[in-house]
Symmetry: C2
Subunit: 511 residues, 2 copies
């Protein structure tokens, strides 16, 4: 009997897939939501509860927040591809130059302006190898996770590289399973009745057709749910493989079109919402249910205790498109101004939660700021991966000290944005060619076309209603110098004036 027991114990490490002495690596899930506003949740990220927090129901975000830490000043780019390329490379968008959204090879998606010639940005996105013009070449953290024994799963939207370039394929960045990821940044429809954008012969009706969900066509399954079911199947496989896993759960939700998720639509109608607003609310709750289903899977499969979940949005809520919502334009991220595509907080501030069992204190809140490129070194640190070498420099700074409450890497640090582009077809506050710096409480936005500089004290004026540039020339000067120096240091791009052909001055080259 004793002998048998000893034998069993000796075998245990092998059965668990671990050589003796090896530490068990945590599973990591990054749950990224598309076009989600800071207020598109019942979980208040502001210091007050808004009408939107009252309206929407996201019980699983609340559940995750109870288990982990909320971040109230988590930033990304204001547009999808720049954010996602920063996530994958650890580089600021000013450096990787994928500053607007990508789709077709060698085609800029920029709009036009009478005043500016826009720079020749990396319209083809990122790539894992050189050889494609207009790409930024980098090694993703997913590749490093894979090389270090992780089973890596991509589920949902990719949007890192143009069609027919290496970046369109998530498997070029270290993903071993790719569910539905391709070049497109949007979706034709959430509806299985429309085969997610395929005709009756199975051919895509647009570049936004979601690939790979044939099994769910005509089944009444909303795309959010289909992706979740596929993700859970992939997690079953990951569990069987006995490898730590990285799941990138990158929902197409809550990007337009605002289709009705009928599992939740009627509930919001009964709350008195209009059809459009009820549909929007149903998109949000469908996304939240996906989070809950994944958390349930972890609990049922004994993996909750060894799994880190990071919840993040990719850019601000879409607030500039007429016809989709009944809320007035530019208000639906209140108290933030504007939304996706804008340099104002509505465009760049994201809902973010991190739960890390035994490391992050449950139910905590962090008001320090951080930036999307910080995910790269953070996730590698979480996985215990050090001394990695990448062709690109890593601009991101690990926020593990914030999670552990052992220090503040944001102290004295500036955050930078560069958008020397025009978001085609969209107009509104802060939706323009800009560069921006956040330093401590202050935020300076420089408009390339007009030369205008706006200065806000963010904690005092989160809605950016009071431009105080005129009354704080020293701060404007100091932030302009910081921003200009940074942009030059990373070889950032800027527009030129059509009238003269000359490059627009850097922010520290004008008053």
């Amino acid at each position: 009997m004793k002998k048998t027991l000893l034998f069993s114990l000796a075998m245990l490490p092998l059965v668990n897939g671990m050589a003796q002495g090896q530490e068990k690596k945590p599973n990591i899930i990054l749950f990224l939501v598309d076009d989600m506003g800071w207020q598109d949740t019942s979980l208040p990220f502001w210091n007050q509860k808004t009408m939107y927090n009252e309206r929407y129901e996201t019980p699983n975000m609340e559940r995750l927040a109870r288990q982990g830490m909320m971040f109230t000043q988590a930033y990304a780019s204001s547009i999808s591809s720049p954010t996602r390329c920063s996530l994958m490379t650890g580089c600021n968008a000013a450096r990787h130059r994928v500053t607007n959204w990508t789709l077709e090879k060698n085609k800029s998606t920029d709009g036009e302006t009478d005043v500016l010639n826009l720079p020749d940005w990396n319209v083809n996105g990122i790539a894992q190898v050189s050889g494609t013009d207009h790409t930024f070449v980098g090694t993703s953290f997913v590749e490093l996770l894979r090389e270090n024994g992780y089973h890596t799963i991509h589920c949902g939207k990719a949007h890192w590289g143009a069609i027919d370039t290496p970046g369109e394929n998530p498997c070029h960045f270290g993903f071993e399973t790719n569910i539905c990821g391709h070049a497109a940044g949007g979706l034709a429809t959430y509806l299985s009745e429309q085969n997610y954008g395929h005709d009756e012969n199975g051919n895509p009706t647009s570049l936004m057709a979601i690939p790979g969900l044939e099994h769910y066509w005509q089944t009444g399954t909303f795309a959010t749910e289909a992706l979740t079911q596929e993700a859970l199947k992939a997690l079953d496989k990951a569990k069987a493989y006995n490898q730590p896993f990285y799941l990138y759960m990158s929902h197409y939700a809550i990007h337009i079109p605002i289709d009705k998720d009928m599992r939740f639509f009627e509930k919001y109608k009964q709350k008195g919402l209009s059809d459009k607003e009820a549909a929007y609310a149903s998109l949000i709750e469908g996304m939240d249910k996906s989070l809950g289903d994944i958390m349930d899977w972890l609990e049922k499969n004994g993996e909750a205790d060894n799994t880190i979940i990071l919840f993040m949005g990719d850019n601000g809520g879409y607030a500039s498109g007429s016809g989709w919502r009944d809320e007035p334009l530019f208000t639906q991220n209140y108290p933030l101004t504007a939304g996706k595509g804008s340099a104002y907080e509505g465009g760049i501030r994201e809902p973010m939660i991190v739960a890390w069992p035994h490391v992050v204190k449950p139910g905590t809140r962090c008001d320090k700021y951080l930036m999307i490129e910080d995910y790269y070194p953070t996730i590698l640190e979480m996985a215990g991966i050090k001394d990695y070498h990448t062709p690109q420099p890593i601009d991101g700074i690990s926020f593990v000290p914030l999670l552990k409450q052992t220090g503040d890497p944001s102290d004295g640090r500036s955050l930078y944005w560069n958008f020397p582009n025009i978001w085609a077809g969209e107009h509104g506050p802060g939706i323009a060619a800009t560069c921006t710096i956040r330093q401590g409480d202050w935020k300076l936005i420089y408009f390339y076309e007009t030369g205008k500089k706006e200065l806000y004290n963010i904690p005092d004026d989160i809605s950016e209603k009071h431009d105080v540039a005129a009354s704080h020339p020293d701060i404007v000067k100091q932030l302009s110098a910081d921003l200009g120096a940074y942009l030059r240091s990373v070889d950032a791009q800027r527009p030129a004036f059509k009238s003269t052909g000359k490059l627009v001055p850097w922010p520290d080259e004008v008053e």
Copy 2:
């Protein structure tokens, strides 16, 4: 004008995806056919033309042979998984211990014998990481190609690892695109009318259902053709990516079931063949058309000149199953005896052709022997990849010198097989637990169960009709010593006797 031209030339290397000074890497295609017999072609690999060479039509194999080098003594294991695991790891099957075919996790596919207890072989196949019991852990050459800038495509049958183990997923071995590869080593059906093994609800009707071809269901497309079309789409992508590519075109053909490929069936009926034999011939010609379509793609896309094609079979033609063919059992690989699963030449000798523009002399023939694990170092050498490090030792030896006609790595070398297993449900000449050595002209087979040793002079007696062990005791002794020493050196497995519990002696431990 001159300035423009200079500018254009200077840009050229970048446009071609090549930093200056970099040598252009060749594309590599490995075209692997399942269960193809040495005579299942109009291209004679023997020094005489057989009735089978007259019967079958494989014009594209002939075309490839005109461009490259035929190998008349190319060997593999007699069963699929051992061959494929040797291919991927560069290890002899005696070392990797995946000595029989794999399918379900922790389940041996071995048959039973009254006499022997079979060893606890690696029933779960190979894996890229440790953590799964009964796997052999290795880094594949595909992973090394990928790390060196190749875009890597898997199309067709994988069969490296059991269901729910890491080895079931080709993307764990460096493949970035996986078309239809999974754990299974066979297919339910070639017929789109049967959804390649899925019911009307899209659910698989057996473990052999081909995944991933939903687009072709009910279209009348034979599986061989569907795989080819998918491969060509993947090549279009590879071309767009501007990366060198590795395509593993691993046909399910010509594995049973012997469905009729109607594009070719009638032609063979009109030649007077029975339904079954015409169906078999149609499977062969469908596979050959696939080769031709790929060669056509290369020519049309300007890649023929920079693409190496290796054509190979994974084991001998299936000759032991009654009901599938009208040819007498064990004869259809004539002049070779028996077929798949046998230690005789019918089980292990494969049709093989290599075309390598500007390197291999067109229309040549090589009679030196080589072994499936030799593909690993050969392909890496073709790609210019040196100084790689792998967790497993590489048993294979590059056959590039044979291709370049600069030397003979087979000179003085022995080849080894170890099959300490029982192929369930199959019986016939040489289908037994055996280990085997080929040394120069001589081949010795040792039968674990009976202790019998057979000795053949292969060039003199390719059909292995004349066992000359009794008249050449010195050669038997020398080969037994070589084989026994090798098997011990790689920690090979062997059965034990049920009667005594003792391990069967190594070949050099008995007379």
